[in-house]
Protein backbone atom coordinates (compact mmCIF):
# COMPACT_ATOMS: atom_id res chain seq x y z
CA UNK A 1 0.00 0.00 0.00
CA UNK A 2 2.84 2.38 0.88
CA UNK A 3 4.51 1.70 -2.47
CA UNK A 4 1.22 2.47 -4.25
CA UNK A 5 0.62 5.71 -2.40
CA UNK A 6 4.16 6.90 -2.99
CA UNK A 7 6.22 9.63 -1.42
CA UNK A 8 3.44 11.57 0.27
CA UNK A 9 2.13 8.77 2.44
CA UNK A 10 2.95 8.37 6.10
CA UNK A 11 2.23 5.62 8.59
CA UNK A 12 0.17 6.40 11.65
CA UNK A 13 1.15 4.39 14.73
CA UNK A 14 0.34 5.93 18.13
CA UNK A 15 0.06 9.38 16.57
CA UNK A 16 1.31 11.17 19.68
CA UNK A 17 4.07 12.97 17.76
CA UNK A 18 2.66 12.86 14.25
CA UNK A 19 -0.80 14.29 14.96
CA UNK A 20 0.59 17.31 16.87
CA UNK A 21 3.12 17.84 14.04
CA UNK A 22 0.27 17.74 11.50
CA UNK A 23 -1.74 20.28 13.51
CA UNK A 24 1.25 22.61 13.38
CA UNK A 25 1.52 21.89 9.63
CA UNK A 26 5.10 20.71 10.17
CA UNK A 27 3.96 17.42 8.70
CA UNK A 28 1.51 17.47 5.85
CA UNK A 29 1.13 13.95 4.48
CA UNK A 30 -1.34 13.50 1.64
CA UNK A 31 -2.17 9.99 2.83
CA UNK A 32 -2.11 8.52 6.31
CA UNK A 33 -2.08 4.76 6.67
CA UNK A 34 -3.32 3.71 10.09
CA UNK A 35 -1.52 0.53 11.11
CA UNK A 36 -3.24 0.20 14.48
CA UNK A 37 -5.70 -2.34 13.16
CA UNK A 38 -3.01 -4.86 12.14
CA UNK A 39 -3.12 -7.72 14.65
CA UNK A 40 -0.03 -9.20 16.36
CA UNK A 41 2.01 -6.02 16.24
CA UNK A 42 2.01 -5.22 19.96
CA UNK A 43 4.00 -7.75 21.96
CA UNK A 44 6.97 -8.20 24.28
CA UNK A 45 8.76 -11.51 23.82
CA UNK A 46 11.93 -12.86 25.34
CA UNK A 47 14.40 -15.42 24.16
CA UNK A 48 17.84 -16.51 25.30
CA UNK A 49 19.65 -13.50 23.91
CA UNK A 50 17.24 -10.68 24.65
CA UNK A 51 13.87 -9.02 24.23
CA UNK A 52 11.77 -8.34 21.17
CA UNK A 53 9.17 -5.60 20.96
CA UNK A 54 6.47 -5.45 18.30
CA UNK A 55 6.46 -2.08 16.56
CA UNK A 56 3.05 -1.12 17.97
CA UNK A 57 3.84 -1.99 21.58
CA UNK A 58 2.59 0.96 23.61
CA UNK A 59 4.85 2.68 26.13
CA UNK A 60 2.28 1.79 28.84
CA UNK A 61 2.53 -1.89 27.96
CA UNK A 62 6.32 -1.76 28.37
CA UNK A 63 5.99 0.26 31.60
CA UNK A 64 3.80 -2.47 33.13
CA UNK A 65 5.77 -5.43 31.78
CA UNK A 66 7.85 -7.55 34.18
CA UNK A 67 9.60 -9.00 31.13
CA UNK A 68 10.70 -5.58 29.87
CA UNK A 69 11.88 -4.69 33.40
CA UNK A 70 14.55 -7.40 33.10
CA UNK A 71 16.50 -4.59 31.45
CA UNK A 72 15.75 -1.87 34.03
CA UNK A 73 16.70 1.05 31.80
CA UNK A 74 13.80 0.10 29.50
CA UNK A 75 11.36 0.50 32.37
CA UNK A 76 12.96 3.84 33.32
CA UNK A 77 12.24 5.04 29.80
CA UNK A 78 8.74 3.64 29.28
CA UNK A 79 7.48 4.82 32.68
CA UNK A 80 8.77 8.35 32.18
CA UNK A 81 7.57 9.19 28.68
CA UNK A 82 5.14 12.13 28.80
CA UNK A 83 2.01 11.21 30.78
CA UNK A 84 -0.43 8.32 31.22
CA UNK A 85 -2.57 9.34 28.26
CA UNK A 86 0.36 9.60 25.84
CA UNK A 87 1.88 6.34 27.12
CA UNK A 88 -1.44 4.58 26.48
CA UNK A 89 -1.28 5.50 22.78
CA UNK A 90 2.36 6.09 21.84
CA UNK A 91 4.42 3.18 20.52
CA UNK A 92 8.09 2.19 20.65
CA UNK A 93 8.17 1.57 16.88
CA UNK A 94 6.60 4.94 16.16
CA UNK A 95 9.11 6.71 18.40
CA UNK A 96 12.05 5.09 16.62
CA UNK A 97 10.62 5.63 13.12
CA UNK A 98 9.79 9.29 13.86
CA UNK A 99 13.39 9.89 15.04
CA UNK A 100 12.39 13.05 16.88
CA UNK A 101 15.56 14.58 18.41
CA UNK A 102 13.69 14.89 21.71
CA UNK A 103 12.28 11.35 21.73
CA UNK A 104 13.25 9.12 24.65
CA UNK A 105 13.59 5.65 23.11
CA UNK A 106 16.45 6.32 20.71
CA UNK A 107 18.61 7.69 23.54
CA UNK A 108 18.00 4.66 25.75
CA UNK A 109 18.16 1.98 23.08
CA UNK A 110 21.45 3.32 21.72
CA UNK A 111 23.17 2.28 24.97
CA UNK A 112 22.13 -1.35 24.32
CA UNK A 113 22.66 -3.67 21.38
CA UNK A 114 19.51 -2.76 19.49
CA UNK A 115 18.44 -3.72 15.98
CA UNK A 116 15.41 -2.67 14.01
CA UNK A 117 13.67 -5.31 11.91
CA UNK A 118 11.97 -3.62 9.00
CA UNK A 119 9.69 -5.05 6.35
CA UNK A 120 8.89 -3.78 2.88
CA UNK A 121 7.82 -4.93 -0.54
CA UNK A 122 11.19 -6.55 -1.14
CA UNK A 123 11.12 -8.44 2.13
CA UNK A 124 12.72 -8.04 5.52
CA UNK A 125 16.02 -6.63 6.69
CA UNK A 126 17.58 -5.91 10.04
CA UNK A 127 19.36 -2.63 10.68
CA UNK A 128 21.45 -1.82 13.77
CA UNK A 129 19.99 1.23 15.54
CA UNK A 130 23.06 3.40 14.90
CA UNK A 131 22.63 2.79 11.15
CA UNK A 132 18.85 3.28 11.35
CA UNK A 133 18.55 6.83 12.70
CA UNK A 134 20.47 9.03 10.30
CA UNK A 135 19.46 12.53 11.33
CA UNK A 136 16.62 14.43 12.98
CA UNK A 137 13.34 12.93 11.70
CA UNK A 138 15.36 10.89 9.20
CA UNK A 139 15.79 7.11 9.17
CA UNK A 140 17.14 4.43 6.86
CA UNK A 141 13.57 3.32 6.07
CA UNK A 142 12.75 3.21 2.37
CA UNK A 143 9.45 4.79 1.36
CA UNK A 144 7.73 1.40 1.18
CA UNK A 145 9.21 0.01 4.39
CA UNK A 146 7.96 -0.04 7.95
CA UNK A 147 9.36 -1.00 11.34
CA UNK A 148 8.22 -4.47 12.34
CA UNK A 149 10.17 -5.27 15.48
CA UNK A 150 12.79 -3.89 17.81
CA UNK A 151 15.24 -6.39 19.26
CA UNK A 152 17.35 -5.62 22.30
CA UNK A 153 20.14 -7.94 23.47
CA UNK A 154 20.52 -8.56 27.19
CA UNK A 155 23.53 -6.72 28.57
CA UNK A 156 26.30 -8.91 30.01
CA UNK A 157 25.96 -10.10 33.64
CA UNK A 158 26.82 -7.57 36.37
CA UNK A 159 25.54 -4.75 34.19
CA UNK A 160 23.49 -1.82 35.26
CA UNK A 161 21.89 1.07 33.48
CA UNK A 162 19.79 4.12 34.16
CA UNK A 163 17.88 6.68 32.15
CA UNK A 164 17.27 10.12 33.61
CA UNK A 165 15.41 12.92 31.94
CA UNK A 166 15.01 16.44 33.23
CA UNK A 167 11.62 17.89 32.41
CA UNK A 168 9.67 21.03 33.14
CA UNK A 169 6.38 19.11 33.33
CA UNK A 170 5.28 15.59 32.43
CA UNK A 171 3.64 16.15 29.01
CA UNK A 172 6.58 18.01 27.45
CA UNK A 173 9.76 16.63 25.96
CA UNK A 174 12.77 16.60 28.30
CA UNK A 175 15.11 19.58 28.48
CA UNK A 176 17.95 17.06 28.44
CA UNK A 177 18.21 13.35 29.09
CA UNK A 178 20.98 10.84 29.71
CA UNK A 179 21.15 7.06 29.34
CA UNK A 180 24.03 5.12 30.88
CA UNK A 181 24.70 1.39 30.65
CA UNK A 182 27.74 -0.04 32.46
CA UNK A 183 29.19 -3.54 32.61
CA UNK A 184 31.13 -3.98 35.85
CA UNK A 185 33.63 -6.41 37.30
CA UNK A 186 33.88 -5.51 40.95
CA UNK A 187 34.73 -1.82 41.04
CA UNK A 188 36.16 -1.86 37.55
CA UNK A 189 34.09 -0.79 34.59
CA UNK A 190 34.44 -3.21 31.68
CA UNK A 191 31.85 -1.77 29.28
CA UNK A 192 30.37 1.68 29.15
CA UNK A 193 27.71 3.20 26.92
CA UNK A 194 26.54 6.78 27.46
CA UNK A 195 23.94 8.53 25.30
CA UNK A 196 22.71 12.09 25.54
CA UNK A 197 19.19 13.02 24.47
CA UNK A 198 17.57 16.32 23.41
CA UNK A 199 20.98 18.01 23.07
CA UNK A 200 21.63 17.36 19.39
CA UNK A 201 19.88 16.39 16.16
CA UNK A 202 20.01 12.74 17.22
CA UNK A 203 20.98 10.99 20.45
CA UNK A 204 24.68 11.73 20.99
CA UNK A 205 27.06 8.94 21.90
CA UNK A 206 29.49 10.34 24.49
CA UNK A 207 32.44 8.25 23.26
CA UNK A 208 35.10 10.11 25.20
CA UNK A 209 33.18 9.79 28.45
CA UNK A 210 32.76 6.07 27.77
CA UNK A 211 36.51 5.69 27.15
CA UNK A 212 37.31 7.45 30.43
CA UNK A 213 35.31 4.83 32.33
CA UNK A 214 36.20 1.70 30.37
CA UNK A 215 38.85 -0.40 32.12
CA UNK A 216 38.95 1.99 35.06
CA UNK A 217 38.07 1.68 38.70
CA UNK A 218 34.99 3.84 39.06
CA UNK A 219 35.60 6.52 41.68
CA UNK A 220 34.21 9.99 42.25
CA UNK A 221 37.11 11.29 40.22
CA UNK A 222 36.45 9.11 37.15
CA UNK A 223 32.73 9.87 37.36
CA UNK A 224 33.46 13.62 37.38
CA UNK A 225 35.84 13.23 34.44
CA UNK A 226 33.22 11.26 32.48
CA UNK A 227 30.56 13.86 33.27
CA UNK A 228 32.87 16.65 32.05
CA UNK A 229 33.55 14.76 28.83
CA UNK A 230 29.83 14.17 28.28
CA UNK A 231 29.14 17.85 28.83
CA UNK A 232 31.66 18.68 26.13
CA UNK A 233 30.09 16.14 23.75
CA UNK A 234 26.62 17.68 24.05
CA UNK A 235 25.58 19.96 21.21
CA UNK A 236 22.50 21.74 22.55
CA UNK A 237 20.52 24.60 21.06
CA UNK A 238 19.24 27.47 23.15
CA UNK A 239 15.44 27.45 23.12
CA UNK A 240 12.46 27.94 25.40
CA UNK A 241 13.52 24.92 27.44
CA UNK A 242 16.81 26.56 28.37
CA UNK A 243 20.03 28.08 27.09
CA UNK A 244 22.70 25.89 25.52
CA UNK A 245 24.94 26.48 28.52
CA UNK A 246 22.19 25.51 30.96
CA UNK A 247 21.55 22.28 29.07
CA UNK A 248 25.25 21.45 29.01
CA UNK A 249 25.45 21.87 32.78
CA UNK A 250 22.36 19.73 33.12
CA UNK A 251 23.91 16.96 31.03
CA UNK A 252 26.93 16.84 33.36
CA UNK A 253 24.74 16.49 36.45
CA UNK A 254 22.50 13.86 34.86
CA UNK A 255 25.50 11.77 33.73
CA UNK A 256 26.88 11.74 37.28
CA UNK A 257 23.61 10.64 38.79
CA UNK A 258 22.95 8.05 36.08
CA UNK A 259 26.42 6.49 36.52
CA UNK A 260 25.89 6.24 40.27
CA UNK A 261 22.54 4.50 39.80
CA UNK A 262 23.94 2.23 37.06
CA UNK A 263 26.73 1.07 39.41
CA UNK A 264 24.29 0.31 42.22
CA UNK A 265 22.08 -1.63 39.85
CA UNK A 266 25.08 -3.54 38.49
CA UNK A 267 25.69 -4.68 42.09
CA UNK A 268 22.17 -6.06 42.14
CA UNK A 269 20.53 -3.26 44.10
CA UNK A 270 16.94 -2.39 43.24
CA UNK A 271 16.90 1.32 42.51
CA UNK A 272 13.75 3.16 41.49
CA UNK A 273 14.37 5.80 38.88
CA UNK A 274 12.11 8.73 38.26
CA UNK A 275 12.49 11.60 35.89
CA UNK A 276 13.50 14.86 37.48
CA UNK A 277 11.10 17.77 37.27
CA UNK A 278 12.10 21.39 37.36
Amino acid sequence: MLSQLGEEAKLLAGGQSLIPLMKLRFANPRHLVDINFIPETAYIKEDKSGLRFGALTRHAQIEKSATAAKIPILHDCAAGIADVQVRNRGTIGGSIAEADPSGDWATVLSTLQTSIRVVGKKGERTIPLDKFILDAYTTALAKDEMVREITVKYPRPASGGAYLAFKRTAPVYPTASVAVQLGMEGDVCKDAAISLGCVGLTAIKASEAEALLRGQKVTNKTITQAADAARAAADPQSDTRGSAEYKRTLVGALVKRAIEIAIRRARGEQVQVEHIYA
Partner: protein, 179 residues
Protein backbone atom coordinates in the same frame (compact mmCIF):
# COMPACT_ATOMS: atom_id res chain seq x y z
CA UNK B 1 -9.09 50.32 0.81
CA UNK B 2 -6.33 48.37 2.53
CA UNK B 3 -9.04 46.36 4.27
CA UNK B 4 -10.49 45.30 0.97
CA UNK B 5 -7.13 44.15 -0.35
CA UNK B 6 -6.55 42.11 2.75
CA UNK B 7 -9.93 40.47 2.34
CA UNK B 8 -9.35 39.71 -1.30
CA UNK B 9 -5.99 38.22 -0.45
CA UNK B 10 -7.48 35.99 2.20
CA UNK B 11 -10.24 34.86 -0.12
CA UNK B 12 -7.66 33.84 -2.68
CA UNK B 13 -5.68 32.00 -0.05
CA UNK B 14 -8.70 30.09 1.17
CA UNK B 15 -9.37 28.90 -2.34
CA UNK B 16 -5.85 27.68 -3.04
CA UNK B 17 -5.60 25.99 0.34
CA UNK B 18 -8.81 24.03 -0.07
CA UNK B 19 -8.15 20.33 -0.49
CA UNK B 20 -10.19 18.25 -2.91
CA UNK B 21 -13.27 16.81 -1.22
CA UNK B 22 -12.52 13.62 0.66
CA UNK B 23 -15.29 11.12 1.16
CA UNK B 24 -16.68 10.59 4.60
CA UNK B 25 -15.91 7.30 6.28
CA UNK B 26 -18.65 5.28 7.96
CA UNK B 27 -17.74 3.95 11.40
CA UNK B 28 -19.26 2.39 14.48
CA UNK B 29 -18.34 2.97 18.06
CA UNK B 30 -19.87 2.64 21.49
CA UNK B 31 -20.06 5.84 23.48
CA UNK B 32 -21.10 5.59 27.12
CA UNK B 33 -22.69 2.21 26.44
CA UNK B 34 -24.68 3.44 23.44
CA UNK B 35 -23.88 2.07 19.98
CA UNK B 36 -23.36 4.86 17.44
CA UNK B 37 -23.09 4.70 13.66
CA UNK B 38 -21.58 7.83 12.21
CA UNK B 39 -20.02 9.04 9.01
CA UNK B 40 -16.99 11.27 9.52
CA UNK B 41 -14.34 13.12 7.60
CA UNK B 42 -11.09 11.15 7.92
CA UNK B 43 -9.35 14.21 9.35
CA UNK B 44 -11.90 14.70 12.13
CA UNK B 45 -10.47 14.33 15.62
CA UNK B 46 -12.17 12.11 18.17
CA UNK B 47 -12.90 15.10 20.40
CA UNK B 48 -14.66 16.85 17.50
CA UNK B 49 -16.79 13.78 16.88
CA UNK B 50 -17.78 13.66 20.54
CA UNK B 51 -18.51 17.36 20.90
CA UNK B 52 -19.86 18.36 17.51
CA UNK B 53 -21.54 15.24 16.14
CA UNK B 54 -22.64 13.49 19.32
CA UNK B 55 -23.28 16.65 21.36
CA UNK B 56 -21.22 15.38 24.29
CA UNK B 57 -19.73 18.72 25.22
CA UNK B 58 -18.51 17.57 28.64
CA UNK B 59 -15.23 16.66 26.96
CA UNK B 60 -13.30 19.91 26.64
CA UNK B 61 -10.62 21.20 24.31
CA UNK B 62 -7.99 23.13 26.21
CA UNK B 63 -4.68 23.35 24.40
CA UNK B 64 -5.30 21.15 21.34
CA UNK B 65 -1.57 20.29 21.47
CA UNK B 66 -1.52 17.05 23.51
CA UNK B 67 -0.54 18.91 26.65
CA UNK B 68 -3.37 19.85 28.98
CA UNK B 69 -5.53 16.72 29.20
CA UNK B 70 -8.88 18.57 29.21
CA UNK B 71 -9.97 16.28 26.36
CA UNK B 72 -9.16 13.05 28.23
CA UNK B 73 -11.66 10.23 27.65
CA UNK B 74 -11.44 6.48 28.11
CA UNK B 75 -10.87 4.43 24.97
CA UNK B 76 -11.38 0.74 25.76
CA UNK B 77 -10.75 1.63 29.41
CA UNK B 78 -7.50 3.53 28.86
CA UNK B 79 -7.24 7.29 29.35
CA UNK B 80 -6.29 9.04 26.11
CA UNK B 81 -6.21 12.61 24.84
CA UNK B 82 -9.07 12.73 22.35
CA UNK B 83 -7.54 15.75 20.57
CA UNK B 84 -4.67 13.47 19.50
CA UNK B 85 -6.64 10.56 18.08
CA UNK B 86 -8.54 10.67 14.79
CA UNK B 87 -12.21 9.78 15.08
CA UNK B 88 -11.80 6.96 12.55
CA UNK B 89 -9.20 5.37 14.82
CA UNK B 90 -11.97 4.77 17.34
CA UNK B 91 -13.84 2.52 14.86
CA UNK B 92 -15.09 -0.41 16.95
CA UNK B 93 -13.88 1.13 20.21
CA UNK B 94 -15.69 1.71 23.46
CA UNK B 95 -15.49 5.33 24.58
CA UNK B 96 -16.40 6.68 27.99
CA UNK B 97 -16.80 10.42 28.46
CA UNK B 98 -17.67 12.32 31.62
CA UNK B 99 -21.35 12.02 30.67
CA UNK B 100 -20.98 8.24 30.96
CA UNK B 101 -19.82 8.23 34.58
CA UNK B 102 -23.18 8.70 36.32
CA UNK B 103 -25.54 5.78 36.75
CA UNK B 104 -29.33 6.22 36.92
CA UNK B 105 -29.06 9.87 37.82
CA UNK B 106 -26.58 9.14 40.62
CA UNK B 107 -23.15 10.72 40.51
CA UNK B 108 -20.22 8.33 40.17
CA UNK B 109 -18.15 8.15 43.42
CA UNK B 110 -15.35 10.02 41.60
CA UNK B 111 -17.74 12.83 40.63
CA UNK B 112 -19.16 12.98 44.14
CA UNK B 113 -15.68 13.15 45.69
CA UNK B 114 -14.61 16.00 43.39
CA UNK B 115 -17.71 17.92 44.48
CA UNK B 116 -17.42 17.10 48.18
CA UNK B 117 -13.71 17.99 48.35
CA UNK B 118 -13.96 21.15 46.22
CA UNK B 119 -11.61 19.45 43.74
CA UNK B 120 -12.49 22.07 41.14
CA UNK B 121 -12.94 25.76 40.65
CA UNK B 122 -13.71 26.76 37.07
CA UNK B 123 -14.30 23.12 36.15
CA UNK B 124 -12.66 23.20 32.75
CA UNK B 125 -10.10 20.48 33.53
CA UNK B 126 -12.46 18.44 35.72
CA UNK B 127 -13.93 15.97 33.19
CA UNK B 128 -10.42 15.01 32.03
CA UNK B 129 -9.16 14.69 35.58
CA UNK B 130 -12.07 12.47 36.55
CA UNK B 131 -11.41 10.11 33.65
CA UNK B 132 -7.68 9.94 34.45
CA UNK B 133 -8.76 9.15 38.02
CA UNK B 134 -11.04 6.45 36.66
CA UNK B 135 -8.15 4.65 34.98
CA UNK B 136 -5.99 5.03 38.12
CA UNK B 137 -8.59 3.55 40.47
CA UNK B 138 -9.44 0.70 38.12
CA UNK B 139 -5.75 -0.30 38.10
CA UNK B 140 -4.84 0.69 41.66
CA UNK B 141 -7.81 0.83 44.01
CA UNK B 142 -5.49 1.91 46.86
CA UNK B 143 -3.22 4.46 45.19
CA UNK B 144 -0.27 6.00 47.03
CA UNK B 145 0.34 9.73 46.84
CA UNK B 146 2.98 9.06 44.20
CA UNK B 147 0.53 6.94 42.17
CA UNK B 148 -1.92 9.84 42.19
CA UNK B 149 0.73 12.35 41.16
CA UNK B 150 1.78 10.12 38.26
CA UNK B 151 -1.78 9.42 37.18
CA UNK B 152 -2.76 13.07 36.82
CA UNK B 153 0.57 14.41 35.52
CA UNK B 154 -1.05 14.76 32.10
CA UNK B 155 -3.92 16.94 33.34
CA UNK B 156 -3.33 20.63 33.85
CA UNK B 157 -5.42 22.61 36.35
CA UNK B 158 -4.85 26.34 36.44
CA UNK B 159 -7.13 27.09 39.40
CA UNK B 160 -6.89 24.73 42.32
CA UNK B 161 -3.20 24.17 42.93
CA UNK B 162 -4.11 20.44 42.87
CA UNK B 163 -4.40 20.00 46.66
CA UNK B 164 -8.14 19.46 46.66
CA UNK B 165 -7.93 17.33 43.55
CA UNK B 166 -5.60 15.09 45.55
CA UNK B 167 -8.06 14.94 48.40
CA UNK B 168 -10.88 14.17 45.97
CA UNK B 169 -9.00 11.25 44.45
CA UNK B 170 -8.05 9.89 47.87
CA UNK B 171 -11.66 10.26 49.00
CA UNK B 172 -12.97 8.56 45.87
CA UNK B 173 -10.62 5.64 46.54
CA UNK B 174 -11.74 5.39 50.17
CA UNK B 175 -15.43 5.58 49.26
CA UNK B 176 -14.99 2.88 46.64
CA UNK B 177 -13.30 0.76 49.35
CA UNK B 178 -16.31 1.21 51.62
CA UNK B 179 -18.67 -0.06 48.92
Amino acid sequence: MPKKTAKAKNAGKAKTMREPAIENVPMQLTVNGRACSVSVEPRMLLVELLREELDLTGTHVGCDTTYCGACTVLMNGAAIKSCTVFAVQADGAEITTVEGLERDGQLHPIQKAFGDCYGLQCGYCTPGLMLSTHQLLSEKPHPSEKDIRKAIAGNTCRCTGYQNIFKAIQTAAQNAKGN
